[in-house]
Amino acid sequence: MSNSNIGVIAMTDTGTIHKRARGLFGNGFDLGRLLLEGRAFFALIAIIITFSMLSPFYFSTGNFLIMASHVAIFGLLAVGMMLVILTGGIDLSVGSTLGLAGVVAGFLMQGVTLEGLGVALYPPVWVVVILTCAVGALVGLVNGVLIAVFKVPAFVATLGLLYVARGVALLMTDGLTYNNLGGKPELGNTGFDWLGFNRVFDVPIGVLVLAAVALGASLLLNRTAFGRWVYSTGGNARAAELSGVPVKRVTVLVYVLSGICAAIAGLVLSSQLTSAGPTAGTTYELTAIAAVVIGGAALTGGRGNIRGTLLGAFVIGFLSDGLVIIGVSSYWQTVFTGAVIVLAVLLNSIQYSHRRPSSAAKPKTSATQGSKA
């Protein structure tokens, strides 16, 4: 357990378990509930232990960091997805947005030729990053406006954008891939591969980007008015509106944020590969949803947190990489991932039905009390 990431997550997660347990049961302690509440965390531990026993290569700092840089991509998508799901929506377009963002970044790195002036512009990397994020935000804005203003169901609106964004990415490249995104020193646009390749204190930049985005999102949700608005919109939009919450604005903004997260993920991925293909990120939206669900968020909105979502992303990433390391066929990987998702949803429904005030949870606790009495 030399890995710093896992250590941090372990600490914070037990923190919440304690807090929740106190809120629900006075000072009582219930092992079953602890396991249920912290399921994503325990699943991660179980995955690490299992694969460490099966393969000598799994349990090493080097491998954890490689796996973590894979997780970073899904994690970034999942954080954005999580914000959307908290409001009771869904964003199916993030995989395509990731692909489009990579292509836009690749396009800009190749240099933009202005026909009329006969000059080619080579924007520096920071401009590329900003413009790419703006593209992601634009996709999100279209989603948000369709959903909040024109009342298109989130599933349908973002499904439409899934196709549109992917189509635009294919059109821009004619189906081909932009290679050699390294830039040229004489053009002053080097450094794109920094995102994907460099390390700070041995930690890949992608992982640090994820940590920063997650921290920002966590602060946003827990410490700002906007965060409270997100939770209340997902919990009961009518009540939120009558309490003065700008429900429409909140809805538009979460999709914009999700688009930006997808664009950042696209930048990290194309930087890791130093190439940008128009089909990158296909079906990643489903992985992101899975991470959010494994992390304990309710698809009906209002419940969930960033910590859980990150754990969910790590569970999926560490599981599928582990299966690769021990040489399980990729078809089996698909089966395992699916089983984990179903199990997670199953546990979610158990947890949320137990939370309902009158029925299930209370008889259980009082039954144990009764037998003691």
């Binding site: 939770y231 209340s232 919990g235 009961n236 009540a239 009558l242 003065g244």
Partner: protein, 509 residues
């Protein structure tokens, strides 16, 4: 078969039944008899333990201690199905019918009569028709339930319970959504059921109504049974006394403070009717409300009270007229802007419009005033806690604290959370739509006390009600609405009959 045995003997008995949720004792050793072929009514405030007792009797939950006797023999059921098999059915406050399915399909939902070739619809239809004849309700078995009036839907629920040969029928607030004529139909059905030997357990907040139908009264308070007696020995005052444990009064208009300037002025306001195009739910209505004044808005369902209040709050668009808050026109201001300027609405349906069930008591209380504890970008936890604690104290919410789940509160306390949330925004004008709906007398009195105190501090208060008794309490003025217009205005010395006549309600002698 259900008529076997003598009318009046105890068919279902609860002996020293206790139930605790964690540290909270919901029931403390209650004894309770259900008499054959008679109606036993449970009276009690919200949180007194009525629902818990009903859930135990119907098998939803199990008691912590004590026993249930059916026909003198102890029984223990672990689910509603087991209770139903023993002849005990419950009809919940919220009907559990599928509105898209027909009456027939609803009655046989989950118990379809099947033959080798599938569902025997003809037989189901025949039995449904027989049930409806028995209940003397002219409902076609193939009508979709959504096309029925609420009272008829209730009859369908009863028919469903009877179709499984229920000997004991538990009815939780069956009249809360019914019109006066529908209540009459329901009571006739109940009398027929009694004649057939069916025993009925009845719960209602509507005390006078329940007194018309009941044979026995049992009163619960704080999880203990405070009194029980047959109908002949009791009256309304006896029930109220045992329910609240003291003399009960909804208050009188607060006096001794200055009535200030006009706080809210409504000038020729019209609101379109959402269900019928071209019609107006509120029709050119004008009204003035002064600081420190309490106005009661009385009217029947559909008189336009809710539409008017929601339009003033910014929820519904208006089709004409003006709304002025302290002399300044509101125009197209958003709900948030109106709240910021001191105009708030406590909505009618607290579950649907008032509370966020996924958030805690504290988060609900602070939802409308997040700005007050935000400094720069971030919220201050300490300031929020202070605000929540102050609110809990001010509106006297009974809770473990701000972090408690909203679902752990009783109806009355949930309503206080909604009111406390809006009062925390420091409003100038408070509008409350049916603030006493579904809460018990004690909580009602506390809500009215809060409003009276607010008025004394200079708050302008307008509340709507459909219970005439509530008009004649704290209101300085009573405005009666009828078909979108003001039909009469009274002072606090009006009589119930005057108010009801002005609303268009037939006065029952």
């Amino acid at each position: 078969m259900s008529g076997a045995g003598t009318t009046g003997e105890a068919v279902l008995q609860a002996r020293d039944v206790a139930k605790s949720y964690g540290n909270v004792q919901a029931l403390k050793g209650v004894n309770f008899d259900v008499h054959r072929g008679q109606v036993t009514t449970l009276f009690g405030e919200n949180g007194a333990g009525k629902s818990t007792l009903m859930k135990i009797l119907s098998g939803v939950i199990r008691p912590t201690s004590g026993e249930i006797l059916l026909d003198g023999r102890p029984v223990a059921f672990h689910s509603t199905t087991e209770a139903r098999d023993l002849g005990i059915s419950i009809i919940h406050q919220e009907l559990s019918l599928a509105p898209n399915l027909s009456v027939r399909d609803n009655i046989f939902m989950g118990r379809e009569i099947t033959t080798a070739t599938g569902v025997d619809y003809a037989e189901e239809e025949r039995q449904t028709r027989a049930l409806m004849e028995e209940l003397e309700e002219d409902i076609d078995p193939l009508t979709p339930v959504e096309d029925l009036r609420l009272g008829q839907q209730q009859v369908v629920e009863i028919a469903r319970a009877l179709s499984v040969n229920a000997r004991i029928l538990i009815m939780d607030e069956p009249t809360s959504a019914l019109s006066a004529s529908e209540v009459e139909v329901l009571f006739k059905v109940i009398r027929d059921l009694k004649a057939r030997g069916v025993s009925i357990v009845y719960i209602s907040h509507h005390l006078e109504e329940a007194l018309q139908i009941t044979d026995h009264a049992v009163v619960l308070r704080d999880g203990t049974m405070t009194a029980r007696a047959p109908r002949s020995e009791i009256d309304l005052e006896w029930i109220v006394r045992n329910m609240v444990g003291e003399n009960f009064d909804l208050g009188s208009p607060p006096e001794g403070h200055a009535i200030g300037d006009v706080a809210l002025k409504i000038d020729g306001l019209s609101v379109p009717d959402a269900s019928a195009t071209g019609r107006s739910a509120v029709d050119g209505l004008s009204l003035e409300l002064r600081a420190g004044e309490i106005v009661c808005l009385y009217g029947l369902m559909g008189a336009g009270r809710t539409e008017m209040l929601e339009c003033i709050a910014g929820r519904l668009p208006k089709s004409g007229g003006r709304v002025l808050l302290e002399g300044r026109e509101l125009g197209r201001a958003s709900i948030a802007e109106r709240i910021a300027r001191g105009l708030v609405l406590v909505p009618e349906d607290r579950q649907r419009d008032g509370l966020v069930q996924t958030m805690s008591v504290g988060e609900n209380l602070s939802l409308a005033s997040i700005g007050a504890f935000t400094r720069g970008l971030f919220t201050s936890r300490k300031r929020e806690r202070d605000l929540v604690d102050t609110s809990i104290r001010n509106v006297t919410i009974k809770t473990d604290g701000g972090q408690a789940a909203i679902g752990s509160l009783s109806g009355g306390n949930q309503q206080k959370v909604v009111i406390g949330k809006m009062l925390a925004t420091n409003p100038r004008v408070v509008m409350l739509d049916e603030p006493s709906r579904g809460i018990d007398i004690g909580a009602k009195a506390e809500v009215f006390r809060l409003l009276a105190e607010g008025a004394q501090r200079g708050l302008a208060v307008i509340y709507s009600t459909s219970e005439v008794g509530e008009c004649l309490s704290i209101a300085h003025r009573i405005i009666v609405m009828r078909r979108g217009k003001i039909s009469a205005e009274f002072g606090p010395d009006a009589t119930k009959e005057q108010i009801m006549a002005a609303s268009g309600e037939a006065v029952v002698a």
